[in-house]
């Protein structure tokens, strides 16, 4: 075990636990699942610390695992209670009848998974596009395309809501 690297990851997790939790919560939509996701992400980040080649990538490494864990949990939940939905609404976990509080936050959560991922990391977590590319394991251009697409979808959505 590489003591220094292990400690670095542990420190990061402890220091940024609130941010990581919010990110998980934005996917899972409930505190229990969000805590489960963060806990198992923290565990995995630590036991696999040797797989982290670049010591400066602790941040993106932790984010990536939290996102993966949250998505895995979300998928599992969906499998347990499958609700047939059109593709574009797949990522929605918001109960119906919540429409009056239909602000942008809820709209973001209804974007396609990969797009909302980019939007959240960019605007909620203030990550750079390069960092997002590392977290989502995609190339920079894909991240850009998703960001533009997401912004456009939200804009259109808002305009329609106002009209």
């Amino acid at each position: 075990m590489k003591q220094a690297l292990y400690q670095k990851i542990a420190d990061y997790l402890i220091e940024h636990q609130n941010g990581l939790y919010r990110l998980a919560y934005s996917y899972t939509g409930n505190p229990e699942d969000a805590m489960d996701a963060v806990q198992s992400a923290a565990y995995k980040a630590l036991i696999h610390h040797e797989m982290l080649r670049d010591e400066n990538a602790v941040k993106t490494w932790c984010y990536r695992i939290v996102v993966n864990e949250s998505m895995a949990l979300l998928r599992k939940r969906r499998k347990e209670s499958p609700v047939p939905e059109p593709w574009d609404a797949q990522a929605s976990y918001i109960e119906k009848g919540y429409e009056q509080d239909d602000d942008l936050y809820n709209r973001v959560n209804r974007l396609p998974e990969k797009i909302q991922e980019v939007i959240k990391l960019r605007f909620y977590e203030d990550l750079s596009l390069k960092e997002i590319a590392e977290i989502t394991e995609t190339n920079l251009n894909t991240v850009k395309a998703r960001l533009y697409r997401g912004l456009r979808m939200m804009k259109k959505d808002l305009e329609e809501a106002k009209a």
């Binding site: 939790y21 630590l46 395309a145």
Partner: protein, 300 residues
Amino acid sequence: MKELEQARKRYDEIPVPGELQDRIRRAEGDARAYLEARQDSRKPSQSKLRGISHRRVRKGLWAAAAAMAVFVTALNTSTVFAQEVGKIPVIGAVARVFTFRTDEQQQDGIWLSVEIPSVEMIAEDTGGLADSINEEIHALCQQYADEAVARAEDYRTAFLETGGTEEEWKAHNIQIRVWYEIKSQTEDYLSFLVMGTENWTSAYSESRYYNIDLKEGSLVTLEDVLGEDYREIADASIRGQMRKRTESGEVFWTEEEGGFSGVTDATKFYMNEAGNPVVVFDKYEIAPGSSGEIEFEIER
């Protein structure tokens, strides 16, 4: 966008349960315990050795895969080669896989390459097995190609609508490939794999294995090769191999994490040259995506 700031505010105000701190601490404690237990069970010198041998095995596999690819191509394209192989009675005579149709097209900067296989069985009393397999394969390939092209077109539309230019789109170099690979061809079995992939997303990759018992003229199940207790046999073998591979640093998800939970009659496998079934798990099925596809040979 003002709305975006409000959304951000709402996100920032997500309350964090006090329990979170305990959870993180628990995760850290568990991880430490796990790593210490692992440390004790292996001496540093051993692990170093294992690391090296592991890498060698990997390289060997690549070489084998490359050789396989060459063989497949040769089998299907060169008549001289086909005639040569044809002289070997078993391989040439009982059954063969050949390229039924190849198609390459490019439209809207999307490159599509389709190579559809067909099975030909010489034995007479196979009850139309080859025909039904071929029908299924052709439908599968067609469907995959159509859906993949539709997905890429959607992507293109979205890209252009959001200010991307045609040049930038071309630079994406979208490639869709439907093809097949022969896994083994012995006196007893013919195993091959039909695959569909898109180079811009791995989410829709598909692969289907076909294993034909050449003596029976039927598709082979794990039960056919391992017997009635195939589940127990395969599970024990896989779990044993997972343990060993974990020791040498490979990572598998636990059952609670959605990892391996036992084979079923839908588990993918192929027959290797030695006549053993090799169980295959998709990327992400039982381990992190970085591990790719994972195989376990079940000796019998």
